[in-house]
């Protein structure tokens, strides 16, 4: 359902959208049941002349069932959602699939610096390509990213990937993504970082391998 609002451009986006839909259906059910009970009671038990209220303590066993049965059902739903959430988290966040390439992301007040591995596919070599606010990725390639910050806490957020990870000074956080859809998408800073917090947009471009190679070539032609 999230894909109606934001494009789905990574494998993780698909997993997270699935979990979102599962939660929406489950809590949607409870929401409708609870509101229906509430409004039914409000209507049915409105004050009418000559009709007195009943005396129900709710402490007797057969009365308590009214809340203990839904209570048990809530627990079952919680277990389903917990299992769904934990499996999804494990897949998108905890387990790192083997990387095809690595990329380095450095946040600062108020820009993103991206270090691309260059044509040789390896970081910290001479052909690395460093850009500001311009991230270029190959489609269907698994990337590991190394994320850090130079000053305050920022947050690397790519809605089309359903990815968000805080960039913390003094730490390098590793994560991964695998782009699945061509196009250009917004990169945001999602943690307040000072006056320029709204002025940290970057662009993500997902390209075919041929386009990507051509971009590297044009960079080195410019003296990279």
């Amino acid at each position: 359902m999230l894909s109606w609002l934001v494009p789905q451009a990574s494998t993780s986006a698909r997993d997270i959208d699935w979990l979102f839909a599962l939660i929406l259906v489950t809590v949607g059910f409870w929401f409708v049941v609870a509101q229906a009970a509430l409004f039914t009671f409000i209507f049915r038990f409105r004050r009418r002349p000559g009709v007195a209220a009943s005396y129900i303590s709710g402490e007797r066993k057969e009365e308590k069932r009214w809340i203990s049965r839904p209570h048990a059902l809530v627990i079952v739903c919680d277990v389903v959602l917990i299992v769904g959430a934990l499996l999804t988290w494990k897949a998108v966040k905890q387990d790192l699939p083997p990387a095809d390439e690595r990329i380095r992301i450095v946040a600062q007040q108020w820009a993103w610096v991206f270090v691309h591995p260059g044509p040789d596919g390896k970081l910290d070599t001479e052909d690395d390509v460093r850009t500001v606010n311009d991230l270029r990725l190959k489609i269907d390639t698994t990337y590991h990213f190394e994320l850090t910050s130079r000053d305050v806490v920022h947050s690397f957020s790519v809605p089309a990937f359903r990815l968000k990870q805080d960039a913390v000074p003094g730490r390098i956080v590793t994560g991964w993504f695998r782009p699945t859809r061509l196009g250009t998408y917004d990169i945001q800073c999602a943690e307040i970082c000072g006056i320029g917090h709204a002025l940290m947009p970057a662009r993500l471009t997902i390209e075919t391998p041929a386009e990507h190679a051509a971009w590297y070539a044009s960079r080195s032609a410019q003296g990279g």
Binding site: F45, R48, S57, G58, E63, W89, V153, K164, G194
Partner: protein, 555 residues
Amino acid sequence: MAEGHAQSFWSRYVFSTDHKIIGLQYLFTGMFMGLVGAFLAYVFRMQLAFPGESVPLYGVVTPLQYNALVTNHGAIMIFWVAMPILIAGLGNYFIPLMIGCDDMVFPRLNRLSYQIFFLSTVLILASLFVPGGGFGGAWTAYPPLSASAQYNHTPWGAPLWLIAVALEFVAFLLGGINFVTTVMNARAPGMGPMQIPIFVWMVVIASIVFMASVGPLVAGAIMLLFDQLFGTHFYDPKGGGDPILWQHLFWFFGHPEVYVVLLPALGIVAEVITVFSRKKLFAYKTILYTAFATGIISFFVWAHHQFVAGIDPRMAHLFTITTLIISIPIAEMTFAFIATLYGGSIEFRTPMLWALAFIAEFLIGGVTGIFLGANATDIYLHDSYFVVAHFHYTFFPIAVIAGFAALTYWFPKMFGRHMNETLGKIHFWGTIVPFNFVFLPLFVLGAAGEHRRIYSYEHFSQLFTPGLQNLRVLATVALVVMLLFQFVFLYNFIRSLFAGEKAEENPWKANTLEWAAPSPPPHGNFAEMPIVYRGPYEYSVPGRPLDYWPQHVPQ
């Protein structure tokens, strides 16, 4: 009680140790700060709907001002509105009345509590006008941004803000000690633990949770103040510190704090729905035990605010489980409230409308929390407008809806006069309907990826679309409409203080002890100290001519 009856204005209203006067001081300060917080919201919502244009009554909003507006809106609404109104204001006024005693056990401590709170109020307001402007690092104040003027550009605003917040904590610590001790020691004869009204229990549990959670944050705040003023590096990795440490200290307090304000609000709803449906509270003991469970579990959920903060990913599993578990007692309590209405004789007076609206609206806040407690969906929704919409569907019912329920319910007791019922209903519908039009669009914006604390979205092509901008305008227009309707309340409140219809001792025919005192209660509260014979919710008992049975009436 050292004071005599011939008191000057100062000793009677300003330096009083009477719990009712202190309660009203907190209440009126909280209501005034509510106006301030609402004005801040008006300014930044106008900027979001009409970016760059001059906001009427304010002017053009700069990015630095925008940050200060959202930061102080959040801090003021929680620490200077919800806390003083729900806990200190109503707690001070009604705990001694509802347990049948003449005052708090530590009246001078109580007065000191308000004086410190008043000082913190002056400081937070002053911090908006100092050179460089108010602090703009969000109410969560994450370092290193909050720790250094080099990063936040508010050399005066940041420390002043932090000192104000720390003083506010001290004030509520003193108040909490007083509440817990009073309820433990000063109950009327005959009032056992299961005869205490739920509202009183809720304030006590909330006070205990607050006292147990705030200590680490006070220590953390002092370290942050040292970072700001003396250049220490508790939170700055450049000097060996750790910014994540603050996040743990902050949220170890910050999440229990949600329940600190939620529980008294639930208590208010319990009092109001029983009176206006003439029903015994459904499963009193279950409600009490779920409140205890909520209070305890609330200490084990804090890191769900930090799923994407760079903590060990394995830790997130634990906090997802605890967070979803806390939905269980809250859901059960909600079921009990709805079950209370079953078989009732529901009268739609203004307080009852607010209490019913609380249940309906809080449900939205409750179920949307599941999306955020589940670690994997939180990756996407964290720090988005989905979060903003979610917690406003919890905090608005807590602070505003339950607040109005309490004010309209207890107004006759506090001031001896009735508020106007027609104006009350106009104000109710004029608040509830626009409220949903403010915050439902924000769920959609958040699901579309709109991140928080951004003064203008013009630089984000996926967010600066006509469709999403229309939603922003809708939310802002609805907010303005809602704020305009608050003048109806202010008019009704002030007019009724002086010219409302006179209220008798027990106008709602309620059972709890505050209704046994005169309206308004004099110094010392009761003409004759009450004795308690039964629980607080004996409505419509079969075989009795009256449909209520006050706690203090022998037969």
